[in-house]
Assembly symmetry: C2
């Protein structure tokens, strides 16, 4: 990785790869949820519900299930008084770390540009 070549074939492959990535990362909330799990390594259902502004428990449940299917997150049930469920990124999901960091940096700049100025 790192160095991008510039043959026509490589362009196509890269464009396709981005498309493939977005197939998994679509959905209104997916990226935001991954971001939450990037910045807090472990997080409970109700925590994520609070972190991601505007999401409903229904949608959070749905998205987490789908992300679990895609092997992006791991679900762990803890046998506490009222049951608690921990979500965390899998090793695979953690590879999106740099995507999220870059998005975060860009988002900060974007916010400055839109709000400030």
């Amino acid at each position: 990785m790192a160095d991008k070549k510039h043959s026509h074939e490589d362009c196509k492959k890269n464009i396709l790869a981005v498309h493939d990535a977005m197939d998994v990362l679509n959905g209104k909330w997916t990226i935001s949820i991954i971001a939450v799990l990037c910045f807090h390594q472990q997080r409970r259902f109700s925590d994520i519900l609070a972190d991601v502004k505007g999401i409903s428990n229904r949608m959070l449940s749905k998205e987490l299930k789908e992300m679990e299917m895609h092997k992006l997150v791991k679900r762990t049930v803890q046998d506490t008084q009222p049951i608690t469920v921990l979500y965390e990124l899998t090793e695979y999901g953690r590879k999106l770390q740099s995507v999220i960091n870059n998005l975060s940096d860009w988002g900060h700049e974007h916010r400055k540009k839109v709000m400030g100025k």
Copy 2:
């Protein structure tokens, strides 16, 4: 940028930043179009139409307009025989380069994992 701090406040800010970024980058085709413009610096309308598999001219037109409004892309009309229109990323849009590269890398891995194995 680069080093992420870990106070509660910073988490919130980062999560918010990612959310802000996604506000602009939502839409089924946005990221794919940006990818095309990352990998070919300049591209005509009909080229992008061919590069992004499945998109219709209507949607491409809409998305490009929106991206222009958001100052992500620049539109240049060339006074050729049948008119040609060039699209390219603005300096601002080019800052998404690393996001796209990371997504491309991840997409390649993802494809291997899903297809291969």
